[in-house]
Symmetry: C2
Subunit: 426 residues, 2 copies
């Protein structure tokens, strides 16, 4: 097979006919596959079922975890998440089943009340803005969009977001109030920010005294290779420069135990903790401490978490491998029509197809029974300026299904590219 | 013993000396008692432990309750709460462990975005206001205070809040955006709104098109007598007048199963449900459906809930009885120095002492090791204009402790009143 970009119109037409036949065959199979969301599969959730076998709910401080109280979370739960995140227990707030909800609250608090270091609530800033490394996590962007906070795209590289651009923007513009980051195994590229990137986030000068880094460590222990990648801890790194109040770190067990019934956590400075608790205590008496205790007794500490994650890895690595191998086999021979990331952890692979083709690929997949995240979803306002990016989530389907879906996906990519090349040849 | 108000100064001084001796005896006991919060005791939580014995988490629609999804809650959980609240399942949203958090979100949504029927967000109204039947629930009032919403006191009676006053205010003032209500076994008086009161809430004309009734059915099945009191269902009643969009009903299992790890629910109109979900889906993917399923399998339906509540009642009724009996024995003979409510359900007894004495009583109790809710807490801004009200929560301590605490409390009331009468005699 020759490379697509070198094909004559006749060759492209012939290839199109071939691909349409393959596509029709897939369609005839009546598939129902979903690679849209970073959703663990049943075999992953089964790994944590022993967590439920617990009868005594007396916490280490002697209190009854079933009752009201303890807004910041159980002592032992704070210790567990401190261990995982590399911070001190007194800097950890343990929440409910959703770290997204913690992020939403914090944006909402910034917007409505401001933080302890805010000159005024963000709602009173003329045009409050957030920086958004792209591609990124759609649910992050939807929160800032909900509050009418303007979003500025920041290009990503394997080292992290473009720090030159970020440093320049935040130094100049006091209306830039924050940034969304997934520093380890980024959603969706799977990149891990370099030590230098983390250091620059910790030390950079910001025009806004209340600039906040939303540092979502969703995949901090979600390694897919033998390599246990660890980066400097932003909260501790920021302390060295007196900038610890700018950091909100998040994590959760959604992709460790149960996606819908895990435990979330926030890490922040002493000042921020004091302020955040003052706001949170108006909203809730305490989060579900029974679930916190179950998680602590089951996972124990960071070492226990890592041991558990190794079981996940055994089940996930083959699915990621299936996608990447199929891409290499089916797309590489077609020449420069697509490239993809090779994550060492996390939940996603980014697939970049020839500009102008991503939406068409997603539609073709959908029509053949394979649901992907909507093209463009990884960009603020759902707008991928290149119409090139697709996020692949290979965790939920079975390995057989992932194998089948990957082939179908490559057929759709090739078909969309051929269509586009023919269109351009007109 | 003659009535306090008829005593001479000498008699009062003698009585004071007696009481001070009793008080000193209590103090010497080094008590550590708490009747501050409506907190179930361990023996109540033990009743629900079988709820945890569950292994299969497949919901009735075949989905896996452990995973992401189903923002509005599991079908069977919506059906359970619909049965308890007397509404349709499609009008129920099942949340996390805190109905307070649902209330906070809704106020926050009204403030930041407004509702589907709002001319503008409440934050853009010059002086947004809420009506607050008093005494009421301190945590309700703190939410509206947090958002700078002005609170207007509405007097309570055994029939509910003063509806003449409410109807007049809401008809005239479009900046009045809502009201806090605990319609059944009100916090703290234990009154149940009359059918006529409910009907007037459903039918009244409001100047604000986006007026919202926060109808907190925290104690809807928390009967303390044989009588199963049921009132018209506000959401259904409002439908008759085309006013169903004004209603947000809340309930939770916090005082049915586990205070810190129960399940909360919201009931509202079709329009409101659609709007609320649109806002909520930005914040959270889904609440803890494993806990929802556990609750459904354990409680089954309203009949199951009522059967379970009968077990609570057996443990709580004696505690309420101890308080009321002690009050009658120790305070009634002193004449017109205090009166109290006689709730048929709920979690509290209101004690009204001679005006100007409540703060002093709470302080005396505290100094002798008995913590009460801060005097004034049941009023907006913590200000009881009469300094007369105390909220008694007899559920958490053991019966022995309640008996002891009640006697101590009456000693403190009598001492504070004698002090006040002596002061007035100066």
């Amino acid at each position: 097979m020759s490379e697509y970009r070198n094909m004559t119109k006749e060759q492209l037409l012939a290839e199109k006919a071939n691909l349409e036949k393959s596509y029709a065959d897939f369609k005839a199979m009546g598939l129902k596959l979903n690679m849209a969301r970073g959703k663990p599969g049943p075999h992953q959730m089964d790994l944590a079922m022993d967590l439920l076998k617990m009868e005594d709910y007396t916490a280490s401080d002697g209190t009854d975890a079933r009752n009201y109280g303890n807004l910041e979370g159980l002592e032992e739960a704070r210790a567990l998440f401190a261990d995982v995140m590399g911070v001190q227990p007194q800097n950890v707030f343990v929440g409910g089943n959703s770290s997204l909800q913690l992020m939403y609250f914090l944006v909402s608090i910034g917007y409505t009340f401001g933080f302890q270091d805010s000159p005024c609530p963000w709602s009173q800033v003329e045009k409050p803005k957030f920086l958004c490394p792209v591609p990124g996590y759609d649910r992050h962007f939807r929160i800032t969009q909900e509050f009418g906070i303007e979003m500025i795209n920041i290009p990503m590289s394997p080292e992290g977001p473009d720090m030159d651009m970020i440093e320049k923007l935040v130094a100049e513009d006091a209306s830039i109030k924050g940034i969304w980051c997934v520093p380890q195994y980024s959603n969706p590229d799977g990149y891990t920010y370099s030590d230098e990137t983390v250091r620059r986030f910790a030390s950079m000068k910001t025009a806004a005294p209340d600039f906040k880094i939303f540092w979502d460590e969703a995949y901090i222990v979600h390694h897919l290779t033998d390599e246990i990648i660890e980066t400097p801890v932003l909260l501790e790194e920021s302390r060295k420069y007196g900038n610890e109040d700018r950091v909100f770190m998040f994590t959760s067990t959604s992709k460790i135990t149960f996606p819908g019934a895990g435990v979330s956590a926030l890490a922040c400075s002493d000042n921020s903790m004091k302020y955040v608790c003052k706001r949170f205590e108006v909203m809730i008496i305490s989060y579900d401490k029974m679930n916190q205790l179950r998680h602590v007794r089951f996972l124990k500490n960071k070492q226990g978490v890592l041991a558990h994650m190794q079981k996940h890895r055994r089940r996930l690595a083959p699915c990621f491998d299936a996608v990447k191998t199929t891409f290499a086999q089916e797309l590489t021979p077609c020449g420069d029509i697509a490239h993809w990331t090779n994550p060492k952890g996390g939940y996603f692979i980014s697939l970049y197809v020839m500009p102008g083709c991503a939406k068409r690929v997603a539609q073709l997949c959908k029509d053949a029974g394979l649901v992907l995240t909507g093209a463009g979803a990884a960009f603020p306002y759902g707008r991928d300026p290149e119409d090139s990016h697709l996020r692949i989530a290979p965790t939920y389907p079975s390995l057989d299904e992932v194998e089948k879906a990957s082939v179908l996906l490559t057929v759709c990519v090739r078909l969309a590219v051929v269509e586009k090349l023919l269109e351009q040849a007109e």
